[in-house]
């Protein structure tokens, strides 16, 4: 079982990922998620909260980042550090990035939405379209003629 609770006295929330793994999370961390907050308000508090759209490995990442984000609130260094971690993840594993982004969106965690979006935005900055396609495995589905036309029509932006 993946326990992510600390030895503090705060309330523990139990959650179950789509693949059946059970997580014990401090209430303060769990409530970062507006989805969980709503579910708790709707009286699921005493039971295990199911998260049918999130797998265990991704949920684990989400919790890690929620905690890091809580820490970084008062620390500019950490903020920078956390912001710079996206580059690595996107280079090595864009697939996991997408799953994380979707999970964060599903769980409705505002702070992580902005962080993960910032990651990709930073990643796109200053890279040529060709390099972006290659790194993110984006298939260029334009024919050479189409691409030439798009470039021609968008000269105002690409010159």
């Amino acid at each position: 079982m993946a326990s992510t609770s600390n030895s503090t006295s705060s309330k523990i929330i139990t959650l179950r990922s789509s693949d059946g793994e059970v997580f014990e999370v401090e209430e303060s961390v769990a409530l970062e998620s507006n989805l969980i907050r709503r579910m708790m308000e709707d009286d699921c508090a005493n039971n295990i909260i199911p998260l049918p759209n999130v797998t265990a490995p991704i949920f684990y990442l989400v919790i890690e980042h929620c905690k890091k984000h809580a820490e970084m609130k008062d620390n500019k260094e950490k903020k920078k550090e956390l912001r710079s971690q996206g580059e690595e993840l996107l280079k090595s594993d864009p697939h996991t990035y997408s799953n994380l982004m979707e999970a964060v969106n599903y769980l409705d965690i505002k702070s992580l939405m902005d962080l993960t979006a910032q990651w990709l935005a930073d990643f796109l900055k200053g890279k040529s379209p060709r390099l972006i396609r290659e790194l993110l495995k984006i298939k260029n589905d334009f024919t050479p003629e189409e691409e030439a036309e798009i470039l021609e029509r968008n000269r105002w932006a690409f010159d």
Partner: protein, 537 residues
């Protein structure tokens, strides 16, 4: 624990492009427009996506390789991070966006440039913004941001650009003209009737506030480097009934007196956060402040002249950041500062700059004002100069309820006449104090010292004497010793070392850090549960 990458090793699948539109648009809204538009050629999925971005950021400095001349960039780079009071930002109690004033005065920010094209790409940039706005189709705009060096060329376009945002119910508007020739441009007066605006941020753009303003949704207003005519601020306050946050930084007020007062005696300002830093009157002197804001929670002042009763009746105030110009470091100013502190006795968080500490140093350590301070958290910015030590002691002595203390050590940036040279007075100062501080004995639970050992890098130090130099910087170690040996209920002491100075070799630096750390950890502690944590960068 399963591996974090669950599939996709066999075949490259582009999952990012299959994220829903809303997510991709959220991502694109973090990009400058020139970057966002360029994602359009990645694939058919991305083509045209940018035309629905809800937040638009046009920035000439990000556009192509614009090399505009920004005379102030250096200054800001030099001073950012100097006053970041982010250490105790627990929950949302204190936001880290409060910048304390810089404590220096600046010339005004208008630079004469030829009407031509400072960076050489104004035409391209104009074309780019025009094209983007024509193609952009999102029905609503959340945030609209324009940054460019204003010249006559922009005159026919500016109104149209702002209008395109206002028509689409823009919530946040940010305008900055890093370089602007004064008097040639003025924002359209209809902007001041924009009902959708929640946040407005204006930097270095001459504004010309009309007599009647109607910002019926505005919560936050930031104005920097702008000349404000008489009547501008009252008009803005009267026209923004919901305003909660006002920031005025480095503005020039032609009246020389800033009145933050309700528009009629029967009404009351909602203002919660007020920052007035480094503003001046037309002759460059500090401005006066009249303030009546019973809902104010956070106040940040630098270089402001207060009138009698200025700070009275701030019944909701919880945090106050005070800085004064170094020209006020004078015994004559002490009664004034004391009266401010008296008015601020109820705030929970009090932050004082080095120059304030110097003024407090003119009194004895045991000087007791006629009130009881309720402050629980003190933030002090100090160079640990002779003139400041007694000020720190003085504050500790009067702050009976103090629980958290943050001392930010900073290298001396400005010339301040240090009446006593670095001498015996400093060395052993804390050890020589023969009385005990009530808060240190009973309340103080956390102490944080940042910028440790970074204090005097500006002074010329030869490489050879380096280690000796650091080892004899006992003032800082002695400060730590004082708290560790005296604070009985201390739970945590955090020491954050400064960055490695450029002129010190890596290897030498680690040796120095090791030696200093050993010294620190060997200090006996009065509190058995005191934890000492040393942070290196």
């Amino acid at each position: 624990m399963a591996s974090t990458s669950s599939s996709s090793n066999e075949q490259p699948i582009d999952r990012i492009s299959s994220l829903p539109d809303a997510l991709l648009l959220h991502i694109l809204s973090f990009l400058d427009m020139s970057q966002a538009v360029q994602t359009g050629i990645l694939s058919s999925r991305w083509m045209g996506l940018w035309t629905a971005i809800p937040s638009l950021d046009f920035d000439q400095y990000q556009y192509k390789n614009y090399k505009g001349y920004n005379p102030f960039v250096e200054h800001f780079e030099a001073y950012t991070g100097f006053f970041d009071y982010d250490d105790f930002t627990r929950s949302n109690e204190f936001d880290d966006s409060h910048d304390f004033g810089f404590g220096f005065r600046h010339g005004f920010g208008h630079v004469d440039v030829d009407d031509g094209d400072a960076g050489g790409n104004a035409d391209d940039f104009i074309k780019f913004v025009e094209h983007s706005l024509v193609l952009h189709v999102a029905p609503k705009i959340n945030r609209f941001s324009l940054t460019f060096d204003y010249s006559k060329k922009f005159e026919p376009f500016l109104d149209g650009w702002i209008l395109s945002a206002v028509r689409r119910d823009v919530k946040e508007l940010y305008l900055e003209f890093p370089v602007c020739i004064d008097h040639i441009c003025k924002l359209p007066s209809w902007l001041f009737k924009c009902k959708s605006l929640v946040s407005l941020s204006l930097h270095k753009c001459p504004i010309g506030v009309p007599k009647s303003v109607c910002f019926s949704s505005l919560l936050s207003l930031t104005i920097t480097w702008i000349r404000m005519e008489v009547g501008s601020i009252p008009a803005l306050l009267a026209g923004s009934p919901l305003l909660e946050e006002l920031v005025l930084d480095k503005c020039e007020l032609s009246s020389g007196r800033l009145r933050i007062l309700p528009s009629s005696p029967s009404s009351e300002l909602r203002l919660k956060h007020l920052t007035v830093t480094c503003c001046s009157n037309q002759s460059g002197d500090e401005i006066g402040l009249e303030l009546r804001a019973p809902n104010l929670e956070m106040l940040n002042l630098c270089g402001v002249k207060l009138y009698k009763n200025s700070l009275r009746n701030l019944i909701s105030l919880r945090e106050a950041y005070l800085d004064i110009y170094c020209t006020k470091v004078n015994p004559k100013f002490h009664p004034t500062l004391e009266s401010w502190l008296k008015d601020l006795q109820h705030v929970r968080l009090l932050a004082l700059s080095s120059s304030c500490l110097k003024v407090l140093s003119f009194m004895e350590e045991l000087y007791r004002p006629s009130y009881d301070s309720k402050t629980k958290c003190l933030i002090l910015e100090s160079e640990l100069e002779s003139l400041e030590l007694r000020g720190i002691a003085n504050l500790l002595w009067r702050s009976h309820d103090l629980e958290n203390l943050i001392i930010k050590l900073s290298p001396s940036l400005f010339f301040t006449p240090d009446l006593r040279p670095d001498n015996d007075f400093d060395n052993g100062y804390w050890g020589r104090l023969k009385f005990s501080f009530p808060c240190v004995e009973r309340r103080l639970t956390t102490v944080k010292i940042s910028g440790f050992m970074g204090r005097k890098f500006t002074s010329a130090v030869g490489r050879k004497t380096l280690r000796r130099f650091f080892m004899t910087q006992d003032k800082e170690i002695e400060l730590v010793r004082f708290f560790l040996t005296k604070a009985v209920v201390l739970k945590k002491m955090t020491i954050q070392f400064c960055d490695k100075p450029d002129f010190v070799e890596e290897e030498e630096w680690s040796k120095i850090l090791l030696l200093v750390s050993q010294k620190l950890t060997s200090i006996p502690r009065a509190s058995s549960s005191a934890e000492l944590s040393l942070l290196y960068k």
